[in-house]
């Protein structure tokens, strides 16, 4: 039975894991070279076993083998092949197997990649990574085995939640997981480096690559989730400060801070302890993210029905890992050797420190907003939720100085720089930003929280990052990422301020006036597709000069019976026209929502630019 093959492969991987943990733990006592070719082949076998079990699960999904419980619960014969495959990780068991797969493959790559580094460091990193792998294997095998059988074998599965049957969401989990799980290598390596006393510039330039890889995948993963939410959830927003979104943002903030710290460590040999703390924190956040999403204790629009008891295991495991890492951090911390401490107040080191402080502030805001409701419920049974105003109020005032420091920071030199370097050009750019923002804010009558200074500083950063492309600094990846970030903030601002929306209930043939436009609901067409029926509404948005035709869909899936809406979006470089409609009750009324979202496409492009900077930085060896 193919199904059993996957199951047994996991057991073999578990045995290998135990063996490696025992073998490597011996090197705590004696410092002899234990990382023999033997262990390397064991790791290869382990990765192979996990790959086999993952392929087995995909095979079970593709062939609709309903003797497998996971397949039965999440698949259906009538589903298109693409979603049969993506259904593999669209559920709890499969997604954990994907976690494990990435864990083992990353370890394998790490062992190859770190050949020139000290053996002791590699051994300890291996030790910690295997502990994580071991924990996840236990979790998978004993609480959420993807290869559980059902008997008698059902003839048909219950289907994949139709809202997940979408191309962006099919590749969103693997990409996000590559980012999440990449942080595990950073975690293990940080602990390994403390014990083997090798936190130095060469460690930094080695771990930098892993930080960059995780960071790039995490950024793109968040982007995909955001794009999906934009067109599938029908609210026309790209970020809701929803707990499930927040748990992916938190590791990102932490990883961004770590990225800057590691660059500094590589150049200057400072911030060792801080880099370690950030490494541990990032992975803890990724783990707790998985825990919070999987346990179902988060009250979120994204929450899926699931089994809360599973969360307890991840939580315990997380505590064990955090405890071990804190113990190691304090126990071995004294061995951290300081290479150079001579740093002056006006220097790039300070700029990185400022960046980190802001990142930590944003992180704590998001963290508190996400977990406070859980605590309150546990403590006095009060049920609350925290909405966007909380985040806006706390983040926006701090974003303004952050943007300013981001504009000047990258141009400050390492070690020591002069205070009076601010030249006329900067002041000129700043003046222009003030004038443009002032005119803009007055013209559109914007009256949001601190909108004028926010505009001034984001424009300032925008202009400065553009100017920097012509500067002497040769770090092109940094320029692209920073430019991308300034573009992101600016497009979010413009998008938020200039967006217009109208929602109403319409029948076929109705017309509604909105601003200078008329929304016409012309007709509905019904089409039968492979595993759903679709109602295509034809709408016309007519204004003085032209008319735009939009065709949103309502899909009625048969297995499981669910209705989803597909927004129709017409994107230009200036604005998105977004239209979505829903069935309310079968009496002829449809809930129609029309939105004009300016500069939407630039939000996506800017995140791609930010990630592109990271990719370019990976390519070059020593800059």
């Amino acid at each position: 039975m193919v199904n059993q093959l996957g199951n047994y492969s996991l057991y073999i991987a578990l045995l290998i894991s135990i063996f490696i943990i025992i073998k490597t733990s011996l090197s705590f006592r004696n410092s002899s070279n234990v990382l023999s070719g033997n262990i390397f082949s064991l790791i290869s076998v382990q990765s192979l076993m996990v790959i086999i079990s993952f392929l087995t699960l995909i095979y079970a999904f593709v062939t609709s083998d309903f003797s497998n419980e996971t397949v039965y619960n999440n698949s259906h014969t009538a589903k298109p092949l693409f979603y049969k495959i993506s259904g593999t990780w669209g559920n709890h068991e499969g997604s954990l197997l994907l976690w494990l797969l990435v864990l083992t493959i990353f370890l394998f790559l790490f062992v190859i990649d770190s050949k020139n580094l000290p053996q002791r460091y590699r051994t300890f990193t291996l030790f910690f990574q295997e502990i994580i792998i071991f924990g996840f294997l236990l979790f998978i095998l004993f609480t959420s085995n993807p290869f559980a059988n059902i008997f008698p074998i059902p003839s048909e599965g219950t289907g994949l939640n139709p809202i997940l049957q979408d191309p962006a969401l099919a590749i969103h989990p693997p990409i996000l997981y590559l980012g999440y799980v990449g942080t595990s290598i950073i975690f293990s390596s940080a602990l390994g480096a403390i014990i083997s006393d090798s936190i130095n510039k060469s460690w930094a330039s080695h771990i930098k690559r892993w930080v960059l890889i995780s960071w790039v995948f995490l950024s793109i993963g968040i982007l995909l989730g955001s794009i999906w939410a934009y067109y599938e959830l029908g609210w026309g927003g790209f970020w809701f400060w929803d707990p499930v979104e927040n748990v992916s943002l938190m590791p990102w903030l932490c990883l961004t801070a770590l990225l800057h710290t590691v660059f500094t460590l590589e150049k200057r040999g400072t911030f060792q302890s801080w880099a370690i703390i950030l490494s541990i924190t990032t992975f803890s956040l990724s783990m707790s993210g998985t825990f919070l999403v999987r346990s179902g204790i988060l009250n979120s629009i994204h929450t899926f029905a699931n089994d809360p008891s599973r969360g307890v295991f991840i939580l315990c495991f997380l505590f064990v890992l955090i405890f071990i890492s804190i113990f190691i951090y304090f126990f071995y911390q004294k061995t951290i050797t300081v290479e150079s401490t001579k740093t002056f107040l006006v220097s790039k080191e300070t700029a990185v420190l400022i960046n980190n402080l802001f990142m930590m502030f944003f992180l704590s805001v998001v963290l508190i907003g996400t977990v406070y409701p859980i605590f309150l419920e546990v403590i006095n049974d009060e049920k609350i939720s925290i909405g966007p105003p909380f985040y806006h109020k706390l983040i926006i005032p701090f974003l303004i100085p952050f943007l300013f420091f981001m504009a000047i920071g990258p141009n400050i030199k390492w070690i020591k720089d002069k205070m009076g370097k601010i030249n006329l050009k900067d002041i000129f750019i700043f003046m222009i930003s003030i004038v443009i923002s002032y005119i803009f804010v007055n013209k559109f009558g914007v009256s949001y929280l601190l909108s004028l200074p926010l505009f001034i500083f984001s424009l300032f950063l925008f202009f400065v990052t553009i100017r920097d492309f012509f500067g002497k600094n040769i770090n092109i990846s940094q320029k692209i990422s920073h430019f991308g970030f300034s573009l992101l903030i600016l497009s979010i601002l413009l998008n938020g301020v200039l967006a217009k929306e109208h929602s109403s209930n319409m029948r076929v043939g109705d017309e509604i006036k909105f601003l200078d436009k008329i929304i016409q609901f012309q007709n509905i067409e019904v089409i039968k597709k492979q595993n759903y029926q679709t109602l295509i509404g034809k709408f016309n948005i007519v204004d003085e000069n032209n008319s735009l035709s939009l065709k949103p869909e309502i899909r009625i899936y048969d297995q499981p019976q669910t209705i989803t809406s597909e927004a129709d979006i017409s994107s230009t470089i200036f604005a998105d026209n977004f239209l979505v409609f829903n069935i309310i009750k079968n009496d002829g009324f449809y809930n129609v929502r029309y939105q004009i979202k300016p500069f939407m496409i630039w939000i996506w492009i800017s995140v791609l630019l930010i990630s592109l900077g990271g990719i370019l930085s990976l390519k070059k060896k020593n800059v």
Partner: protein
């Protein structure tokens, strides 16, 4: 008296300390203002006073209670003990149906009438918001 280094370090630690206090103060203050409480229709009935703050209400959408017109919908949220009339203008998620769980966010007008500004969507047809499940269980 003290060396320059010690002074600098003291200033550094002090400034971190001050900023920590400032940050916690800001966060706590902002929390107080922006927390949205969840109530069931029964809890609303016994509220000492009708607050002007935004709240969330959850329960089941009563059978045959959805009433649609061009500008919005009216429906009744029930926890099988007490009911609340809801008026809503805006986007309606697909999983909004009679005899299904619902969470609406908005403002209480009085103990029987609620003006919603948002109805929360769910991903999963089997999913019941935890608060709704619990408040239904309590009754």
């Amino acid at each position: 008296m003290y060396g320059k280094k010690v002074k600098l370090r003291a200033v550094f630690i002090l400034s971190i300390f001050v900023s920590l206090i400032l940050v916690s103060f800001l966060i706590i203050k902002s929390l107080e203002e922006n927390v949205v409480y969840f109530k069931s229709p029964t809890e609303i009935k016994v509220l000492p006073e009708v607050t002007k703050k935004k709240i969330r209400v959850g329960g089941m959408v009563k059978k045959n209670s959805i009433n649609i017109n061009q500008s919005g919908v009216n429906f009744v949220i029930t926890d099988f003990k007490n009911e609340l009339i809801v008026n809503y203008k805006g986007a309606i998620p697909n999983l909004f149906e009679e005899e299904k769980g619902v969470v609406a966010e908005g403002f209480l007008q009085d103990r029987n009438y609620f003006k919603a500004v948002k109805i929360l969507a769910k991903h999963d047809e089997n999913y019941m918001p935890p608060e709704v499940a619990e408040s239904l269980k309590e009754n």
